[in-house]
Symmetry: C2
Subunit: 483 residues, 2 copies
Amino acid sequence: MSGTNPFDLSRHLSSEAKARVANPMKAIWKLIQQQPNVVMLANGDPHFSLYPIRKVDFEVASIENQDPVKSWTASRLSARTLLLTSSSSNRSALPLNLGLQYANGAGRPEAQRAAAALTQFYHAPPDHITTLTLGNFDGITKCLRLLGEPGDKFLADEFAFRAVTNAGVPQGIEWISVKMDGCGMIPESLEEILVRWDEGRGKRPHVLYVVPCGQNPTGSTLSLERRRKIYEIAQLYDLVIIEDDPYYFLQYPSDPNDSSLVPSFLSLDTDGRVIRLDSLSKILAPGLRLGWLTSSAAFHEHLIALTDSSTQHPHGFGQVFLAELLSEHGWGLAGFDRWVSSLREEYRRRRDFFLEEFERRIGGSGLVNARAPEAGMFVWIRVNIEKHPRYQNGINAGDGAAARARTNVAQLMQELFMCCLDSGLVIVPASVFALSGDSVWDDSAVPIEDRVYFLRATFAGTEEIMRKGLEILANVLQTFFAE
Amino acid sequence: MSGTNPFDLSRHLSSEAKARVANPMKAIWKLIQQQPNVVMLANGDPHFSLYPIRKVDFEVASIENQDPVKSWTASRLSARTLLLTSSSSNRSALPLNLGLQYANGAGRPEAQRAAAALTQFYHAPPDHITTLTLGNFDGITKCLRLLGEPGDKFLADEFAFRAVTNAGVPQGIEWISVKMDGCGMIPESLEEILVRWDEGRGKRPHVLYVVPCGQNPTGSTLSLERRRKIYEIAQLYDLVIIEDDPYYFLQYPSDPNDSSLVPSFLSLDTDGRVIRLDSLSKILAPGLRLGWLTSSAAFHEHLIALTDSSTQHPHGFGQVFLAELLSEHGWGLAGFDRWVSSLREEYRRRRDFFLEEFERRIGGSGLVNARAPEAGMFVWIRVNIEKHPRYQNGINAGDGAAARARTNVAQLMQELFMCCLDSGLVIVPASVFALSGDSVWDDSAVPIEDRVYFLRATFAGTEEIMRKGLEILANVLQTFFAE
């Protein structure tokens, strides 16, 4: 294969997306937009004077302090706050009479512009449009609907957030896992799958799902070099890249004086083949259920149509919150940046605390080791399960999903997980993330069923939780390996 | 066919719903729930001390006055209000530290209980569970995913909210229209379709979508007698009934002293075959994007799984709002009932104003007539298009979607719509709601293409809008028919 594929959306759309039928009212709306000052006897839109909600106030952290997260957590209830207000007054960035009315799938332009400004500031994408979502999970699953045809094979990391991959299975998407190392997805492994693809087994994968920063569960972050390679492969083999990046703002470069963030796939996307998903869950609060994705205009149109025919536009309170937060009366863009920079330092401190405790309590045991993650919330702990007295190699694991396993790693790790739980610690075994390899492509190496010797731990909790948790883990490991 | 079918969910599920794969983490959560006081190193849940949101205040209408909507709209900015507050304090009905954290698809129990209490109060369903939704559109389209298999034929009113029916088309649902009269869906027409069904044409329809009160667009309301008949037919032919009831609280019985509401399908549902959707859009504000559905436990489980693998749980701000509003610090159930009763009177006044203006300006013309709707927001205006000088009967309409038409009704109505628009009035022609009949079932009567002689008008607007709108309509009708 030579040269690159120009990006053509129609090659990638599911037949469901192509079969979408516009609401006949849309034609009427188009006519109306050309006609200003019409009298509307058309829509069942409750008049805003009948909304029983006059005003919404959000009391949020002040960002006046240089390190706002530190002062917020240190001063607690006495910490300074800022009041964001939305009413039907036109001083509001998104007045309630508009924010609480029906909208189309794009939501209110005030909220959309706020999200777009963030993306412009951090990624300066070449030629892209913002679509509001109900958070990244909603955004990703909409992308799966948009792109996924029964029988399609999509690509993902071999250790992945399975809630996402599983969400595609009922609609007929099959996942092909790409090998990883400590630095995330290996570009050469990705290319190998595509080079060696036999069309007799079905259409070559055309979608790559990737979490580039602080990947869940491995905590790995793709270097700029790897991103460039993966993007080139995507061009060569005509892949759409779904870039799910909830941990983008939580990056901890090894040089603490380096405040730069690794450029996103979106920022490299000259073709319009990247759909990037941004989330507020990790930097503000998960329950907001508001995020946005950034894509080419062609994807945007289809995503709006899909939104109009499923969830409809995001909730008004969230849109109002986002618009007010990023307005001049709120944090603004500069304040937002100050908050996330400060939050980054907070999580770096938590990460370092975790790693110090880990080192102090278990590091010398030789039973486990861990790499310092450069982003996110997770430490991927390698358990040296080969040292366990009952470790076995060369066994035949029998039938079923784990038929390729040649060791009892999975079984021992399950025992270890249960020992932790019995001792009052919840830590997640790698098996729940393992995307079973396709034996056709996974013939040259140790199958993933024999590599589930990891535990995922988070440093998102408090120091007390980390201290207690690692204390239990240290004790359990000693007992477990000494049996 | 004799006797009734016992309800069996598995006969109704789509293969997509049956193929849904649980997140492997779920198994871990089940284990954890049996283990109190564990230390969690598991989840990437930001600690609530890092949410930059301390407090949310919603300033809502006071319901102290006997007729709260009247005082709210009359006193405007000086109207009394009530402050709903949620913070992380346990005085909140749903504290922010919980409301803004991740939840499963069921959302927070506090919000779910608030919605369930409303349903219990108004419908006392025999044996059902509440599932939060992102509004009725989200709820309905989730039901379509749950029940709809490619090639399935679902039943709906012949004039329907096409955004809903169209949403099912890309996934392969075909719609069969059921005849209506001024009182809504005709049970005998429904039964005729099912009796005469030829299995050679595909599986008999197993889902009925119905808007029982103030149906959009016809404004019709099904009597209790019709509901009983339709429910019996559903039992006999094993239908699932999707009861979409956003106008339930806006019912205007002909006797103004009668404050009773027609019992819902849900309240009659001894079998568990009804899925009822409740919305806050028409009674509080559309932009809330929060509603709930009520179903059997078996449907609930599947809907939660679908929610977990698509939109995820509803937004925290909405859940907090609902929980606070219905708590003892908010309106409570009694206050809610007072608000909706008062709102009902407000919309009855608007409806009466509309009908009086209509009668005064156009009633004597003989060109149009309208029936007083007993619920909702819409008046369905019959245009006596047969009186138009260019009206033709007995024509052959040619190919395409309107091939069955034998008159030029559709064309004249389109002209009338454009004349209104040119005069500055937007009113919706029936054609955008017409669900094209299936010629196999629609052979004995005038096809719907010849019956699109209606206009849908709303009385949801202000008196000024209604007055202006009807003035334009009167003038346009005179000119249009006098040509």
